[in-house]
């Protein structure tokens, strides 16, 4: 499988085998990272939207393999303000670097950037659309915890309407015959277009508002933040935000092997009293961003 020079834009671009190849390579890189692997390579990190965690994770991944990082994380300081087009910024960055990592609030910007650039482009989030390295690190975390990705019962909790991490993960897990439980208030339910896509792939799913009605079946619970702004009625928000605040009470309603993931940052959807339990793996998950991003950088750079 040759990933050299390939763009990493959307989880939809990857077959099951390709996903598994990335995850297996991540395992190898995590157990034996080569600090010289990407020596003399330069990553351009173009963040047209502020981000702390994703940007730091990519930079750390690159530097720990011996590579260098250039770029910006505040679009106001770049010439973009002066009306330079995205296309021109990418053409400039490609001549300074071996790989481009781009985050943009505009959906589809990363795909366009990939068409502009001769060097490989990695999408670090394009608006509400895709964030493929997040999805791959989510899968890596699940694989590490459960030793398999096949036939798992996966619950998605919270804002399923706007949560791109949820959308991509559901699409990715459809390769692995997951049974999916979409737990959310009606106002934030999984969009019909995704449900249809899953149906077409023959994926079993169930929609449910009450977490405790299904929690006992779950192997994985993927929790997300519910944002107040999403609700027209503040009382509605209170009702649901309260219900989905995970705490020790959850422990009476789960399988012993349940693992809880969260893309972070959390506000108050998960009480810190769960942090020390074996179920909580969200900090592990964040840490897994490093080997997975190292792998992606190494693969596309042919390292």
């Amino acid at each position: 499988m040759d990933f050299k020079n390939r763009d990493i834009i959307s989880i939809r671009d990857f077959s099951k085998d390709e996903i598994l190849h990335i995850l297996e390579t991540s395992k190898k890189i995590e157990s034996k990272p080569d600090p010289e692997l990407l020596k003399n390579k330069i990553m351009a990190s173009l963040f047209f939207e502020p981000s702390t965690r994703t940007r730091m994770s990519f930079e750390s991944a690159m530097r720990r393999l011996g590579g260098n990082v250039i770029g910006f994380d505040d679009p106001n300081t770049t010439s973009l303000k002066k009306g330079e087009t995205l296309w021109d910024t990418i053409k400039m960055a490609e001549s300074y670097s071996d790989v481009i990592v781009i985050r943009s609030p505009i959906e589809g910007a990363s795909r366009l950037a990939a068409e502009a650039a001769k060097v490989p482009v990695i999408n670090a989030g394009d608006g509400a659309n895709q964030h493929p390295t997040q999805t791959l690190l989510d899968l890596y975390t699940i694989l590490k915890e459960k030793k398999t990705l096949e036939n798992l019962n996966v619950g998605f909790l919270g804002d399923l309407k706007y949560g791109r991490a949820v959308h991509s993960l559901a699409i990715a897990l459809s390769h692995f015959n997951a049974r999916m439980f979409f737990i959310s208030p009606k106002a934030l339910k999984m969009p019909d277009s995704y449900l249809e896509e899953l149906e077409q792939k023959g994926i079993w799913y169930r929609e449910e508002e009450d977490l405790f009605k299904v929690s006992r079946e779950l192997d994985i619970l993927y929790a997300t933040r519910i944002q107040k702004e999403r609700f027209p009625d503040p009382l509605e928000y209170k009702k649901y935000a309260g219900v989905y605040r995970l705490d020790r009470k959850l422990l009476d309603h789960i399988k012993p092997g349940l693992r809880i993931l969260h893309p972070l940052p959390r506000v108050d959807e998960i009480h810190p009293e769960l942090d020390d339990t074996k179920h909580a793996v969200y900090f592990e998950q964040a840490k897994n961003g490093i080997p997975v991003r190292q792998t992606i950088l190494a693969l596309v750079l042919g390292g």
Binding site: I106, E107, G108, R111, L112, A128
Partner: protein, 151 residues
């Protein structure tokens, strides 16, 4: 009555677009820019059809369609048939065919899509032709016929 109406609108040279789903007849009129056209145009709507229940039909005198125009019709009216009229006779007849990829002609319904923000040419992948389901190559937004607007 029906036969009579059509005799009146017989054309010598031109194109007859038949089997348009009735609801979308005027959308086809729009995309072909027939309002400003100065040759004979007959538009029939809600005509009886065995296949479609009701259908639309457009006869355009003195005009032949480009491939791009036929593609646009396929998007809006996937069951449409194009008849080429020469010397009052149907010289050629074919069903429209939706391309796998649609370039340029459709606008993305997502206002935050890079194609709308930077005015780059659009591109859509056709997942299903009838009923239409397409995905924006850039923002990955799914669209159906109700959201389709031509650029």
């Amino acid at each position: 009555m029906k036969g009579k109406t059509f005799k009146i609108s017989a054309i010598k040279e031109g194109t007859v677009i038949d089997h348009i789903s009735a609801d979308h007849t005027f959308k086809v009129v729009d995309i072909l820019n027939l309002k400003g056209f100065d040759n004979v145009v007959t538009v029939g709507m809600n005509l009886e059809s065995k296949k479609l229940g009701k259908k639309g039909l457009i006869k355009i005198g003195g005009r032949h369609l480009t491939k791009e125009e036929v593609d646009m019709i396929a998007i809006i009216a996937p069951k449409a048939k194009i008849n080429i009229i020469k010397d009052y006779n149907v010289k050629d007849k074919f069903r429209v065919k939706i391309p796998n990829v649609i370039h340029n002609i459709i606008k993305c319904a997502n206002t935050n899509c890079v194609t709308n923000v930077y005015k780059v040419p659009t591109k859509f992948h056709v997942l299903k032709g009838d009923p239409l389901k397409i995905r924006c190559h850039y923002c990955e937004r799914l669209m159906d016929i109700e959201e389709v607007e031509m650029v």
